[in-house]
Symmetry: C2
Subunit: 375 residues, 2 copies
DNA sequence: GACATGAGAGCAATCGTTTGCATTAATTGC
DNA sequence: GCAATTAATGCAAACGATTGCTCTCATGTC
């Protein structure tokens, strides 16, 4: 029932190609004709069928964005940033959620493949080899994971975790626990590696609990285990787990930071609203979203393309840059001094570069900002 | 570069129509041929182009879902429920966020129109007339709003708000405040109307603050105003605002529920995790998402359609049912007794049907479940 | 042995656009 | 006054699929 280009052509007495040009190359059609066509189009409520157009131009002006769990507050800022960046380039973002399920992830890439010009794969849980394979079907930019040969943007959660543990060491904690994230998470491995190293060099014992669901529930379910392992300070895979853990600890009579210090990762909006306010590692999610869109669209002529491209754009010579975004530690209320003395001795080593070193500081303090773009 | 149906046809030595049938009507092709075709398709990595297919079948097997603000935790459960319901019917959901901006909303409907079989319009901020107009372009199901002539599913927030206020009255509160939501919100009007009526009949004074941004920030910014207006109990447009308000009040030295009782609406996951835990009106978001998908797809033959439909499906005689989902009050820790006596006198009136009546009850209590499907 | 039957496969039109090329008419240059 | 240019439009072939028809054979029936 909706009007097609043919209806408009008939109504305005011109050939469909003229109608087409009225929209996609206005300078090629007589101003008089153009306005007549526009009037007819308007009155018929005509809108070009983007799918049909995409079929021949090879460009949909859509971008797919696949996230592991839309309910995780980490993603919305990223999504919004991507959307606004895309909108500025005349693109639209379609978001889809995988429920942390690798199979759904794959299915979604296939479903999206031909309806978008590229897919932003956010915190994927599937294997690298599958990702590589899928990247032959549709241009991919991977977020929060590095895959050889594919453009990616990651936040340096390893570095962030290191900052967090150094902060805890400086506070005098020597019994540490790490709440692991979901199986298949690249970030999880990075964090674990970093934490392992810095804990060892700081002379602390580390208990790793996991893998776990990266949610409040996943966190609160671990309260008992945390108590049993005797840790006085905990780093969680993300803020949601940290918040859940605090609640879970509260439920079994342990208070944060009095009995245990807790640090999260992500700095979701929520972490400023809980009581106690959460000490956490801020990851630049919005910047990641923007950057990913830019990387996907980098071979796209910013404005009036002069058409002619066959197949999906940028087929050849896509830059496969891997961008790493730095994180920073935000000290709030969920961390406090460790059980015993020696608060001052620790935390000084490993050539720390410039910037203030985290000490037991009240209020909100940011450590180590910056951005790094290797490769 | 990706293989097309023609490549497969050439490779397996059959006509493209045979390849097509191999996928869409396997029983029409010789088993032998079929397996040969499948083998070729497999080895070429062929996947049917869904966009091209949609062009001729008129069915994309996609559903658009437009939400006002993806960062609002109210939406994820709805989105996930819709996704899973859709997946069961072999449909995919594309989510897009409008940033509470009516203009973006309209643009997104247009962008999605030809790439989906229908759009779920969630908490729209645009005008009814615009919605009606857009519904001529693509089948629409409206969520959290009633629009004449269009299928819709709403949660009965008016009823929920009434329960909340009755609860507050029963606790002895007589100075009430309502934190209004965003301009253009249908739900907001429903809540306001209901609260106005029940407050009046309960002999309480009501201060309405708003409109406001329906976020934590929007809530915390109102703390000072709440104090000034002298209210001892507050109902917020949603949980996010309620949580923000609690935090804002805390910052100016007022404690909840000691000094002020606060009730939210939505029962987002978070409201169980804040301190104090939030008393709130639970709205069945997931059910809303599922129902909306069902309503959109109701004229869709569940399984093997025997094709032939021209244009978008269900053109005629779409049922325009308006489903209303009941809400329930969940009493947690953010509400407490009012300033003075007479706790027992209030809250008894208006023929309350069956079910326990909310009294100052510790723990978690649910009131008035159920589902109603008029028209 | 003639004929209806039906299975399997090919043909070609179609969906709604875009775009290279051909056509026409009007303008310009000399 | 005529060729050469330019501006505006039409023509038709794509894009990648689906699907109603037609065509060709076996097969089964009487």
């Amino acid at each position: 029932m909706p009007a097609t280009i043919r209806d408009v052509a008939r109504a305005s007495g011109v050939h469909i190609s003229t109608v087409s040009r009225t929209f996609s190359a206005p300078h090629l059609v007589n101003p008089e004709t153009r306005s007549r066509v526009l009037a007819c189009a308007e009155s018929l409520g005509y809108r070009p069928n983007r799918a049909a157009r995409a079929l021949i131009t090879g460009r949909t002006h859509n971008i797919g964005l696949i996230v592991a769990d839309i309910a995780n507050p980490f993603f919305p800022p990223l999504i919004k940033a991507a959307e606004s960046q895309a909108r500025g380039r005349d693109y639209h973002i379609f978001v889809a959620d995988t429920n942390e399920d690798p199979a759904v992830e794959e299915e979604l890439v296939h479903a999206l493949a031909k309806q978008v010009d590229g897919v932003l794969l956010c915190s994927p849980r599937m294997s690298n080899s599958l990702i590589e394979q899928l990247s032959r079907e549709v241009p991919l930019v991977v977020i929060n994971r590095q895959v050889a040969g594919l453009p990616s943007v990651v936040t340096d959660n390893g570095q962030g975790a290191r900052l967090a543990v150094e902060h805890l060491l400086a506070l005098g904690h020597r019994q540490l626990a790490l709440l692991g994230g979901p199986r298949g998470s690249w970030t999880n491995r990075e964090i674990r590696r970093a934490v392992g190293a810095v804990a060892r060099s700081g002379g602390a014992t580390l208990t790793v609990l996991g893998p776990n669901a990266p949610t409040e529930t996943g966190g609160s379910a671990l309260a008992e285990q945390v108590r049993r392992c005797g840790a006085t300070a905990v780093l969680a895979y993300n803020d949601l787990m940290a918040i859940g853990l605090i609640e879970g600890l509260h439920a079994i009579g342990m208070e944060v930071p009095r009995d245990v210090s807790v640090v999260g990762i992500d700095d979701i909006a929520l972490s400023r609203l809980t009581r106690p306010k959460l000490t956490t590692v801020a990851t630049p999610a919005a910047a990641a979203g923007r950057t990913a869109v830019d990387m996907l669209l980098q071979h796209d002529a910013p404005a009036g393309t002069r058409g002619g491209a066959r197949g999906t754009f940028g087929d050849d010579r896509r830059t496969t840059a891997q961008v790493t975004l730095q994180t920073e530690l935000v000290i709030r209320e969920s961390t406090g001094p460790g059980p015993a003395a020696e608060v001052d001795r620790a935390g000084t080593p490993e050539a720390e570069g410039p910037g203030p070193h985290p000490t037991a500081d009240p209020g909100e303090v940011a450590v180590t900002p910056g951005e790094v773009v290797p490769s």
